[in-house]
């Protein structure tokens, strides 16, 4: 033993090394996400050739009435959709947050399943249900309520049903995560202090759940303004949204730069909404924090205004509920010697279960249609034939698409795991300045409208010659999968007792051996679940595939999309059924593993 060896322990270990686990994710997202998106933003504000700053692209955009109209429609549609998602989702979220574990887990699964089921499959299902020859029209006619089929789709209502169905799980999940952290004793305390149900809810629970409503609303709105599948398949000419314009410009008209400017408009709109949200509530509420007005500072004028109006409104609604309850009790007096009938809770269950049924049931209508003997979709289907499955499996195009999708999904999930896992370890175990901001950057591919990433990657790939390559697809999908991996692995690590690692290390294992022999075996189930989520994300991905494939190669969702634009046929129903069964199985497996990991 020498002075040199002794001095190695005399100082704290070098501090920069600990940031190493963040390096892959930073490099990866820096190159494939931040740089391309930044470049797109830059392109939209400089003059071609001269390189001077200019607002010309935007001026041109706004000068053409069609585009401002489309933008307006986009915002309007998204706003309505957000409203329906939050209104419909609130009772479900409330029930999920306040009911026992057993019910909670199963209901949550019913909400999560549609969340992970392909948007395309779910949209097809609505065509089966709502089309002219769809189930609902047939039933209405059979019951004699209507004589002729109603126009339930290819209009605003169709788009609204499809988009609400698609996005409500997102709103529910955001709201539940906030509601779960509301102390169950607070409404109880309110009731012992003299508040009736309505007062306790509107004055105590509801204000505390608002950050969740706001976060859910924000995520829904931002996702909705980037939507194109539902409006394209369920909407008419009046429901064209901005993403459809971008796709049209880039894919059909080959007008790249203008498409870029339109997508920038979308990004700027999205950022503006974020800014507004931040002003009103503070960004930290997105991560489940409390609004600024609750932390004790005075907040911005906007947040103070919100708080003031909110207080008045909740007090008024609370009082109104009070009066209604008193009136009710006057008519139906409640006896102190009989257990009360819990009407409010019953209504809540009924409402929430109807909403869950709206989310979970429609998708399954795609299954019977795939066994029809006829060449078109109609209800009830004429049974029974495997011919559409035969068509799929005999078609080289479909087989190639399926194989490519599975390959790309496996590899991109693998890449995302390699990059995301170290970052998750770092973020859940180490402290650093700006951790929330770092998490924000990592999660931003989920939050920014996907079309922007797609267009940005398209520009970027064009220069690198990655258009139409599997590598390009894999990397692009990994950008979307990394946030899921980070979030899932962080959730698993949150429940992991770090003292086990410390014990291993005190018993003589070095850092790698600790990871290999102790940590990984214990969180294996969680890691597999993260992989599956990443895999499913890629398998269902259409937007990036649409651009990055450059029309040269096709993935399963892209093939489905191309087919659907021509005709929603029983072949698509067959493919959808296969995909639905496969993804359901994967998600159930992931959920099973996740529960095991969390409860261990």
């Amino acid at each position: 033993m020498t002075a040199a060896a002794a001095s190695a322990f005399a100082r704290p270990r070098r501090s920069w090394g600990r940031f190493l686990p963040l390096l892959p994710v930073l490099v990866f997202l820096g190159f494939l996400f931040l740089y391309p998106v930044g470049q797109l933003l830059w392109l939209s504000v400089v003059e071609k050739g001269s390189g001077d700053l200019t607002a010309a692209h935007y001026a041109r955009l706004l000068a053409v009435p069609v585009y401002s109209k489309v933008l307006l429609i986009t915002f309007e549609t998204s706003a309505w959709c957000t409203l329906f998602c939050v209104l419909g989702g609130y009772p479900v979220a409330y029930l999920l947050a306040t009911t026992g574990d057993k019910w909670r887990n199963n209901l949550m699964l019913l909400v999560l399943l549609p969340f992970w089921t392909s948007f395309l499959v779910r949209t097809f299902a609505w065509i089966v249900l709502l089309g002219r020859n769809g189930a609902i029209n047939k039933w209405l006619q059979a019951l004699g309520i209507t004589d002729a089929p109603l126009g339930l789709i290819y209009n605003f209502a169709g788009v609204m049903v499809g988009m609400t169905h698609a996005l409500m799980p997102l709103a529910i999940i955001s709201m539940v995560s906030v509601m779960e952290n509301i102390d169950a004793n607070l409404p109880r305390a309110a009731s012992t202090l003299g508040a009736r149900g309505g007062q306790a809810f509107f004055r105590i629970y509801f204000p505390l759940s608002l950050p969740g409503v706001a976060a859910g609303g924000l995520l829904t709105f931002i996702t909705a303004i980037g939507f194109f599948i539902t409006p394209a398949l369920l909407g008419g000419r009046q429901q064209i949204m901005i993403t459809q314009v971008i796709i049209e410009q880039v894919q059909d008209l080959m007008n790249w730069s203008f498409g870029g400017a339109v997508s920038m408009l979308l990004l700027v709109s999205a950022l503006f909404v974020f800014w507004l949200y931040d002003r009103a509530l503070g960004m930290s509420t997105l991560a489940g924090g409390s609004p600024a007005s609750q932390v004790g500072d005075r907040g911005t004028w906007l947040s103070r205004g919100f708080a003031w109006v909110g207080d008045l409104a909740t007090a008024a609604i609370g009082r109104a509920c009070d009066l209604a309850a008193v009136a009710w009790e006057t008519v139906f007096p409640q006896r102190p010697d009989k257990p009360p009938v819990k009407i409010a809770r019953g209504v809540l269950w009924a409402t929430a279960l109807s909403v869950v049924a709206f989310l979970a049931v429609p998708t399954f209508f795609i299954i019977p249609v795939s066994f029809t003997t006829e060449g078109f979709i109609q209800w009830p289907p004429k049974f029974f034939s495997w011919r559409w499955y035969d068509t799929v499996f005999e078609s080289p195009t479909w087989i190639a698409a399926i194989v490519r999708s599975l390959t790309v999904a496996t590899l991109s999930a693998g890449v995302a795991m390699l990059i995301g896992t170290p970052a998750a370890f770092f973020l859940s175990r180490q402290s650093m300045i700006g951790k929330t901001a770092m998490l924000g950057v990592i999660l931003s591919p989920l939050i920014i409208p996907r079309i922007i990433i797609a267009v940005a990657l398209f520009y970027f790939y064009a220069k690198l010659g990655l258009i139409g390559t599997n590598l390009g697809l894999i990397l692009g999908h990994a950008v979307l999968a990394v946030p899921y991996v980070v979030v899932t692995v962080m959730a698993v690590l949150k429940n992991y007792d770090e003292r086990l690692d410390q014990a291993a290390s005190s018993l003589g294992a070095n850092r790698w051996r600790t990871l290999w022999h102790v940590t990984f075996p214990l969180i294996r189930a969680g890691l597999i679940a993260a992989f599956i989520f990443a895999f499913v994300t890629s398998l269902d991905e259409l937007t990036i595939a649409l651009f990055v494939s450059g029309g040269l190669v096709t993935t399963l969702p892209k093939q489905m999309w191309d087919d659907a634009l021509l005709k929603v046929s029983p072949t698509l129903a067959a493919v959808s059924t296969l995909l639905l069964i496969f993804v359901t199985f994967m998600i159930l497996a992931a959920e099973y593993l996740r529960r095991r990991a969390v409860h261990k």
Partner: protein, 359 residues
């Protein structure tokens, strides 16, 4: 009906599936009384409190508050106040708004609300925190505000569910005395839940000891300490020495018992039939180390195992025949010494300090 109690509980029962959470629970609470439900976790004390608060509904039984039947009345119609373990202060309201909440629910005019809030903040000695949010207060302060919020509308009964459980030892001791003082000064009626026997002894007029979903024994702290009626009561409150005995019969107005090694012990007359197996209980501070010539009603012999000086008292652990150890606690007289480990000692105590317990 007999005289009017503040609270009457009759034959309450609550089950969750096959699990019985509370059964056969009856008690009365008098005006101005401080009654504590004491017991280990799962003994049913919180279930009983929640049923009285109206937050849980019983399967059967009756609850009356101020002479009015309230078994299934909703909490907001019961005229009770409740202090929760984690205080349950509303995080989005200031202290003032929190305390004003019950008054607003009762539609008290604004001017009187302001006066009342000031009054209770003065009582809990925190007039300066009215405009702060709960999270800006320390644990002890939050506890006092929770109490103030409860007292402001002068409920018939204040229920407290382990209100000091989250505080550290020193603060807990302070708050125990403070709550006790408030109780005495304001004459409020309190039903208190705790699993800490010392806390129960310090604060209560009466203790309702609970075990295994039932009321084990109900009485003053002195009753429970000196006249426990079961082995559980004897061992849950304070330290106790328990020795297996067989009841021999009555001898001169006392119950005589025999230990396994044939020693005869005596206790005040107990209603246990001769020949029955029982346990004899005596508190450690009642045992004396006897000198060679000292006499006592009951004497046992053993070998000294440990002598531990704990400040004001010294504990002697003595091993009896059959490996049973008893402890004797004496006031510390000076530096311990003189008796060696393994030395034979005689321990003696008065028959009046002896309790016979059914097994």
């Amino acid at each position: 009906m007999t005289e009017k109690h503040k609270l009457t509980v009759r034959s309450l029962r609550k089950t969750y599936g096959p699990v019985v959470a509370l059964t056969d629970a009856s008690l009365d609470l008098e005006e101005g009384e401080f009654l504590t439900l004491l017991g280990p976790s799962g003994s049913g004390k919180t279930t009983m409190l929640m049923i009285i608060a109206g937050l849980i509904q019983p399967d059967s039984g009756e609850v009356s508050i101020d002479g009015k039947l309230a078994t299934y009345a909703p909490p907001f119609k019961r005229d009770i106040g409740m202090v929760f373990q984690n205080y349950a202060l509303f995080p989005h309201m200031t202290v003032r708004e929190n305390i004003a909440f019950p008054l607003r629910m009762r539609r008290v005019p604004d001017a009187r609300i302001a006066d009342e809030v000031k009054r209770v903040l003065d009582i809990v000695r925190l007039p300066q925190v009215a405009d702060r949010l709960p999270r800006q207060l320390s644990g002890g302060q939050q506890q006092r505000i929770a109490l103030a919020r409860c007292m402001v509308y002068r409920p018939s009964i204040i229920l407290m569910d382990e209100p000091l459980g989250a505080l550290d030892k020193k603060l807990r001791d302070e708050m125990q005395l403070e709550i006790k003082n408030l109780h005495t000064e304001l004459g409020i009626t309190v039903l208190y839940v705790t699993h800490d026997q010392e806390e129960a002894m310090i604060m209560s007029d009466r203790i309702c000891l609970m075990n295994d979903a039932r009321i084990e024994q109900l009485g003053t702290p002195a009753d429970l300490y000196f006249k426990p009626r079961s082995v559980f009561a004897a061992s849950f409150l304070g330290e106790s020495n328990l020795i297996d005995v067989t009841v021999a019969g009555t001898e001169g107005g006392r119950t005589a018992m025999r230990t396994a090694d044939g020693t005869t012990l005596r206790a005040p007359l107990a209603a246990v039939p001769a020949g029955a197996a029982a346990k004899m209980m005596v508190r450690p501070e009642r045992l004396h180390v006897l000198g060679p010539t000292d006499r006592a009603d009951n004497v046992i012999e053993g070998a000294l195992d440990q002598v531990i000086m704990v400040g004001g008292v010294t504990k002697y652990y003595v091993k009896l025949k059959g490996d049973r150890t008893v402890s004797a606690t004496q006031l510390t007289q000076g530096p311990v010494g003189g008796i060696e480990r393994g030395a034979k000692v005689r321990l003696g105590w008065a028959a009046d300090s002896t309790v016979v317990l059914p097994t």
